[in-house]
């Protein structure tokens, strides 16, 4: 018996094939590829004409702070007092103990460490404010804040958090109830002005240089706000709405990410394992991808095609006239 196997090992139909001794037919590969290209090009042109592509404008700090001054300052104070999501993120942005996700006892993000340093109080608030000149009240407020003890700073910040919880926007004016928040009120009001003017967008991107292509700090700041989350939810893009595989509007997005996104919708990743869901789902997807790569070598899995008998449909012409 002649079979394509290595070292005359026992023939396995899920691994080996018998040499083809049947006929051959003319097959014009060049013509086939050309026709395929033309057909795909026409399909693409048609879909582009009919459906176009989504392009909702990016949310800038300027847009956010003008649309919702209250949300902006409520977020900004959490950046200053270090309680925002970005400030409490951990690696790779900053060192925060106990927040890294783990697989059992292993935290991969802690191994990688802080490689993209982000210090929200300095990068999002104090740094941008220090670039403002010609506003004596702000200069005095910053000097007073920096000269104060950490305990005093915390007391001012806590007072502002309580006050801003009841803040309102009247027309274009932000109204924050009076409280014992010292210089923080002036700082936050000035930061809101920077935001509304667009100066904060520029400051966050170009902190050290003229050109800027790294939006890490801008995106972290904007994503800390409720306004950004609300826009995402309104577009059915939240994590529990199959999240990032979708796009705004009625466009297909990235449906090939369905399995990755699927795990975020089901227990135990939504319940008992939710604290470490990201790393566990990534680990699961890596294992599944490895299994897919290694299917040819995995007994049982590689037999599924033969058991499924779908091959009889694919090669129905070949099997025609034969019976099981």
């Amino acid at each position: 018996m002649s079979v394509e196997t290595k070292n005359d090992r026992r023939f396995n139909p899920d691994r080996d094939v018998r040499p083809w001794k049947g006929g051959y037919s003319p097959y014009d590969i060049a013509k086939e590829l050309t026709i395929c290209f033309v057909v795909v090009l026409l399909l693409v042109l048609g879909l582009s004409v009919v459906f176009s592509s989504p392009d909702d404008k990016a949310i800038t700090v300027q847009k956010w702070s003008n649309a919702s001054q209250v949300d902006f300052v409520q977020t900004a104070i959490t950046e200053l007092n270090g309680t925002s999501a970005s400030a409490q993120y951990g690696p790779p942005y900053n060192n925060v103990s106990g927040v890294s996700q783990k697989i059992g006892p292993i935290s991969l993000e802690s191994f990688a460490g802080v490689r993209i340093p982000v210090n929200p109080p300095q990068d999002f608030v104090l740094g941008p404010l220090s670039t403002v000149t010609g506003v004596p009240a702000l200069t005095a407020a910053l000097d007073e804040f920096k000269a104060a003890t950490p305990e005093q700073q915390t007391a001012w910040e806590d007072a502002y958090v309580k006050a801003v919880a009841n803040a309102t926007q009247v027309g274009n004016t932000l109204v924050v109830p009076v409280g014992p928040y010292g210089p923080v009120g002036v700082m936050m009001r000035q930061l809101a002005l920077m935001g509304r003017s667009g100066a904060l967008d520029t400051s966050l991107i170009n902190q050290d240089h003229f050109y800027g292509t790294d939006y890490t700090k801008s995106l972290l700041f904007v994503a800390d706000g409720q306004y950004f989350a609300n826009v995402g939810a309104a577009n059915h893009l939240s994590g529990d709405q199959w999240g990032m595989m979708n796009e705004a509007g009625n466009f297909p997005g990235q449906p090939w990410l369905w399995l990755y996104t699927f795990w975020y919708q089901v227990p135990p990743f939504t319940t008992a394992w939710s604290a470490n869901a990201d790393v566990l789902i990534w680990a699961l997807m890596m294992v599944l991808t490895l299994i897919l790569i290694l299917v040819p070598f995995i007994p049982g899995l590689r037999s599924i095609p033969r058991w499924s008998r779908i091959y009889r449909l694919i090669w129905r012409d070949y099997y025609k006239g034969r019976v099981s």
Binding site: C36, L45, D278, W315
Partner: protein
């Protein structure tokens, strides 16, 4: 001073040098042996190649061609062009829809090959290069989505960062860094997809298209199954 012989038919010692030890000669000999022209670009195929499923490999390559073509046009004008130009928006739409079709065709091709058990007959590497190309394509598509410089790219990047950061890879692959993502999208990952696709196609040509399960091996009684040895 150099002298030139008048006798052009005189034996040239350089022509008689044995080149069979050359790296160039050996590489060419091995390539031609592995993939002679009629196998590399065949004009005949085994007669079992008569199913619509086979067209999806070619459709995937064709869609990849349109993806590269539309992406190249976009790159000529830069990443912001399509926000301000109606032509740019149309080319971006072509890029989007060709990517959607690329994945659609590729997934059908992949599952078709799975149900053919197309790794049989020493074709495991063909399968592996195909799956790895699929995985890299997902990365190429993802970096494209976060390089759109609009709300979708903001949202997708901020959502995706948590998963990637949790693996430690986010320290080196920063999805919030537009410049880095754009470079991955237009250089590194497309290079990976194109190179692996090329290798995948060469392996298909080298090993040939996997034949059907022999009737005797899958319990099919065949009156005329002399086509395969048994």
């Amino acid at each position: 001073m150099t002298t030139i012989s008048d006798d052009v038919t005189a034996p040239n010692d350089e022509e008689n040098v044995d080149v069979s030890r050359q790296w160039t000669y050996k590489i060419r000999a091995r390539l031609v042996h592995a993939l002679p022209p009629d196998r590399l670009i065949p004009d005949r195929q085994p007669s079992y190649l008569s199913s619509w499923i086979y067209i999806f490999g070619a459709l995937t390559i064709a869609a990849l061609g349109v993806v590269i073509l539309s992406g190249t046009i976009l790159s000529l004008e830069g990443p912001q062009w399509w926000h301000t130009s109606s032509i740019g928006l149309f080319v971006n739409s072509m890029h989007l829809w060709s990517v959607e079709l690329f994945f659609f065709f590729m997934v059908i091709h992949l599952w078709g090959k799975f149900f053919m058990a197309a790794w049989r007959g020493n074709r495991q590497l063909t399968w592996i290069t195909g799956v790895v190309t699929f995985a890299i394509s997902i990365g190429a598509g993802f970096t494209g989505y976060v390089s759109q410089t609009n709300f979708d790219s903001q949202w997708i990047a901020t959502q995706a960062k948590d998963g990637i950061n949790s693996t430690g890879a986010g320290a080196y692959f920063n999805v919030l860094n537009f410049g880095q993502m754009l470079m991955w999208h237009i250089v590194l990952l497309p290079a990976g997809v194109v190179l692996l696709t090329g290798l995948h196609i060469l392996l298909v040509r080298r090993r040939g298209i996997v034949p059907p399960f022999a009737p005797d091996d899958v319990g099919i009684k065949s009156s005329d199954s002399k086509e395969v040895a048994s």
